[in-house]
């Protein structure tokens, strides 16, 4: 039974990673940049939700919507202020700007909410499901997280496959210049990508803090790095890859922590990533791009 409950915990944690990794992977696919500030958008989302429920006393679903709205606006603002001017700059310059942005968000949060950890009350208030005479308990948060992850995946697959904007996104990720010549508004497409990624980050932040209720200005950085690892694990730029990578990573982390060593949980995750990349250098579902001379 403990195996099953660990598996469920792993899938639930992995679903959060997958939702965050989607943001990384979409932005990477389209803007070809590693958005290191993504982890901190998660943290901002969680704080907004915290404030709306605690200080305004509004219901949980309003707080999630508010967090999504704020993060979407934040994502668009960050993109237009910091990343858009660097569209043609070397990728390292963009990387450093993203890191600067990450410091900026962390310090703003530090100034507004202070460094003391806040204890986040779960936005989901339902009874856990008990199976096998109460031997296997599936928490409400785990259920909602997995459900949210599946819904988001279906939504995104539909969006990128069927809608005009989704097609524009795929076109831009394939060849920015050609897409522009075909009349795709590249700047708008990139902004929309950031908006979607940041809204997903807000959801991820709320779910993450519902499961692990300590909220600090640095809450987002480690999940951000892990989700980035998940995106690479599944093949960066690929949406199903982000899902697969995220869930596998969550399972590996929980199992590593339970069966091998609590302290070495993160090390195991990263070691498996390295091993995988050595065997399959573009990740599980990544496309191998042939180099032309």
């Amino acid at each position: 039974m403990s195996f099953l409950s660990n598996l469920i915990n792993g899938i639930s944690l992995g679903s959060v990673y997958a939702i965050i990794a989607l943001g990384y992977t979409m932005v990477y696919g389209i803007a070809k940049m590693l958005n290191f500030a993504h982890g901190d958008v998660i943290m901002i989302g969680a704080y907004i939700s915290f404030c709306v429920t605690q200080y305004m006393g509004l219901p949980a679903w309003v707080s999630v919507l508010a967090a999504m709205l704020v993060c979407t606006l934040l994502g668009i603002t960050i993109e237009s202020l910091a990343y858009k001017p660097l569209r043609n700059a070397p990728s390292l310059a963009v990387l450093i700007t993203a890191i600067g942005m990450s410091y900026f968000l962390q310090n703003v949060a530090l100034l507004i909410w202070g460094s003391n950890p806040k204890s986040f009350t779960s936005v989901i208030d339902a009874d856990p499901i008990r199976l096998f005479d109460g031997q296997l308990i599936i928490s409400d948060v785990a259920l909602v997280t997995v459900a949210a992850c599946i819904l988001i995946m279906i939504g995104l697959t539909w969006f990128t496959g069927k809608t005009k904007m989704g097609r524009a996104m795929r076109a831009v990720s394939e060849d920015k210049g050609a897409a522009q010549l075909m009349g795709v508004n590249v700047n708008l497409t990139i902004s929309v990508t950031f908006a979607i990624g940041s809204a997903l980050a807000a959801i991820a932040g709320v779910l993450l803090c519902s499961a692990y209720p300590t909220l600090m200005p640095t809450t987002g950085s480690m999940p951000g790095i892990k989700a980035f690892t998940a995106a690479v694990f599944g093949g960066i730029g690929s949406i199903p890859g982000a899902l697969l990578g995220g869930i596998l990573l969550g399972i590996i982390e929980i199992f590593g922590k339970t069966y091998i060593s609590t302290e070495l949980g993160d090390a195991i995750v990263f070691a498996i990533l390295i091993l995988l990349l050595l065997v399959k250098p573009t990740g599980l579902l990544g496309k191998k791009v042939r180099e032309k001379v």
Binding site: P85, F104, F270, L273
Partner: protein, 351 residues
């Protein structure tokens, strides 16, 4: 060709002179007691960060590989150095000799780690290499957090996840290395910078260095004329690891305790920021950026709580400004005008 060599020579000479002059000035000020206490405390970390920045520039700028785990090698050096100095305290009473021994052994340990990581990892390219180096840095931090080393009557005991060791604990898991004898000095830091400069600048201007740069600029073309990718990438990576390990020893010996948390992802990023702001591939730029950016938070002390916020904003604005097309055009136009006037003056003199 000859002209280029002399240009390189002048360029390198300027770098050396700059470092020596800065050292002499700062040292005189220190002796005269003109530096504040917090600034004096920053001198050795600045030296360590300068060495880190130069060595990372060798990987990022010269070899063209993005590494996000440079602090990992620094921590290998730091903890090896802590154990070496503690265990040799009786055998070598002279702190300078002990420090040099620690640096050599710490450098070798970090270099071995560099080979272990580099051989498999350098087959990856671009962003994948970046994520693997990041992962590696995190692994090292995690492993050191579980490491216990103790010394009893001249023998070393090492265990994993088990603090019950005989004798005095040197490395105590998450609490890090304890009871380090603070034997780093500013002069040693300066010596290490000069050593790093000699290694890196000579490597850059050698046949090997040119092979690295050829691989950076066009891997396929370089391979087709017979330059082996793995050999040269590994050479740059391992050299940088050794130097980072030595910087780690210098850094650790400045504090009485040191934890693995000092060398996490943020530190790697910090060093990368030095390299990028100083100019990728520009050694002198790395030195200046590392020195200024390490002092900057101290100088911003009057902003109190807003200090790191201002730091972040400065970082973003500098990146935006240095990559701004208009500013660039303006800058090159200015340079051209200066240059043409210079030429006109020269021409006038000849007439």
């Amino acid at each position: 060709m000859k002209k280029k060599t002399s240009k390189e020579f002048i360029n390198n000479a300027v770098t050396y002179l700059l470092v020596i002059a800065a050292f002499l000035i700062v040292n005189t000020m220190k002796e005269a007691g003109m530096l504040t206490r917090s600034l004096t405390g920053q001198l050795i970390p600045i030296c360590a960060y300068i060495v880190m920045a130069i060595s990372l520039n060798l990987v990022v700028g010269i070899s063209g590989e993005l590494s996000l785990g440079h602090a990992g090698f620094m921590s290998v050096g730091a903890f090896t150095g802590a154990v070496v100095t503690a265990s040799m305290a009786a055998a070598i009473p002279d702190p300078t000799v002990r420090m040099i021994m620690a640096m050599i052994i710490g450098g070798i340990a970090a270099g071995i780690m560099g080979v272990i990581v580099g051989v498999p990892v350098l087959r990856l390219q671009g962003d994948y290499l970046a994520i693997v180096t990041l992962a590696f840095g995190e692994i090292i931090r995690n492993v050191i957090n579980c490491l216990y080393v103790s010394m009893d009557e001249g023998r070393l005991f090492i265990s994993f996840n088990d603090p019950s060791l005989p004798g005095k604990l040197l490395i105590n898991g998450p609490q890090g290395a304890l009871g380090i004898s603070k034997i780093s000095t500013f002069v040693m830091g300066f010596a290490l910078i000069i050593f790093t400069l000699i290694v890196v600048l000579n490597l850059m201007n050698s046949r090997n260095g040119r092979a690295m740069m050829a691989l950076r600029d066009n891997r396929i073309a370089a391979e087709s004329v017979g330059i082996g990718v793995t050999k040269y990438k590994l050479m740059a990576f391992v050299t940088a690891s050794v130097l980072a390990g030595m910087a780690g020893v210098l850094y650790a010996m400045n504090y009485s305790t040191i934890t693995a948390g000092k060398f996490k992802f943020d530190t790697s990023i910090l060093v990368l920021v030095f390299v990028v702001l100083g100019g990728i591939g520009n050694i002198r730029g790395s030195i200046i950026a590392a020195a200024i950016l390490t002092i900057l938070p101290e100088l911003l002390r009057s902003f109190n709580d807003y200090r790191m916020l201002v730091y972040a904003i400065v970082l973003i604005l500098v990146m935006l400004a240095t990559n701004n097309e208009h500013l660039k055009q303006w800058g090159s136009a200015f340079k051209r005008r200066l240059f043409s006037r210079h030429k006109a003056m020269k021409g006038g003199a000849e007439e």
